[in-house]
């Protein structure tokens, strides 16, 4: 069965710092990968997704993620964070075969200090 690990539970950064949030998944076959963001008091919104092709995926608000198949990773990056990036970030995976459903990681809470 597929699973997702997000090892950073809470990350605190100052504005303008660079960000990298880790995401590793376990599944031997082809997968689709997602990052969702949940701003305080709001619902989850899609940040970016990878289905195929270029492993470097660009999303909204300057975020990007790189799919490294050999490492089973899909880390989220942003070169310079803003206070408005304070949110909880969820990585998710779904196998591209069979009857699997989207599986979410436990989330990483990001706090940006002005």
């Amino acid at each position: 069965a597929q699973s997702v690990s997000q090892h950073n539970h809470h990350v605190i950064l100052s504005e303008a710092a660079s960000l990298e949030l880790g995401c590793n998944y376990s599944y031997g076959g082809t997968v689709n990968l997602f990052w969702y963001v949940q701003y305080p008091g709001q619902h989850l919104q899609l940040l970016l997704k990878y289905f195929s092709g270029d492993p470097l995926v660009k999303g909204i608000k300057g975020f990007e993620a790189e799919f490294i198949k050999s490492k089973f990773s899909f880390n989220l990056r942003k070169p310079s964070v803003q206070w408005s990036d304070t949110a909880e970030y969820f990585c998710a995976v779904i196998a591209n075969f069979g009857n699997e459903k989207l599986t979410f990681g436990t989330g990483t809470r990001l706090t940006i200090i002005p």
Binding site: Q6, H43, Q45, I94, N96, K101, L102, G107
Partner: protein
């Protein structure tokens, strides 16, 4: 364009009471889902539906029931509320699954915060 609408936004229940969380989507999506979100646990799938009349259990279905009589509606029922069901519940929908780039993208509702005392 409403997307996914959930009601109520907040509810407090006493142990043993029952209630239904409502979910409606106006995007003609075939797939609908109910997740619960608990601090530090991420989102866990409770039930899902692949179309009207078809539902199936997710990872944590105990204590819940669902129905899907129409494409638009996917209510979640709690029959005998327990403190362990205190959580935030999210309904979501997608037009399908598979390898096409839009199929697995979920649209979420705003959430329903339930407290059982």
């Amino acid at each position: 364009n409403a997307g996914v609408t959930q009601t109520p936004k907040f509810r407090i229940l006493k142990i043993g009471q029952s209630m239904t969380l409502q979910c409606t989507q106006d995007m003609n999506h075939n797939y609908m889902y109910w997740y619960r979100q608990d601090p530090g646990m991420g989102l866990k799938l409770i039930y899902y539906s692949v179309g009207a009349g078809i539902t199936d259990k997710g990872e944590v279905p105990n204590g819940y029931n669902v129905s899907r009589s129409t494409t638009e509606d996917f209510p979640l029922r709690l029959e005998l509320a327990a403190p362990s069901q205190t959580s935030v519940y999210f309904c979501a929908s997608s037009y399908g699954t598979g390898s096409s780039s839009g199929a697995n993208v979920l649209t979420f509702g705003a959430g329903s915060r339930l407290t059982v005392l």
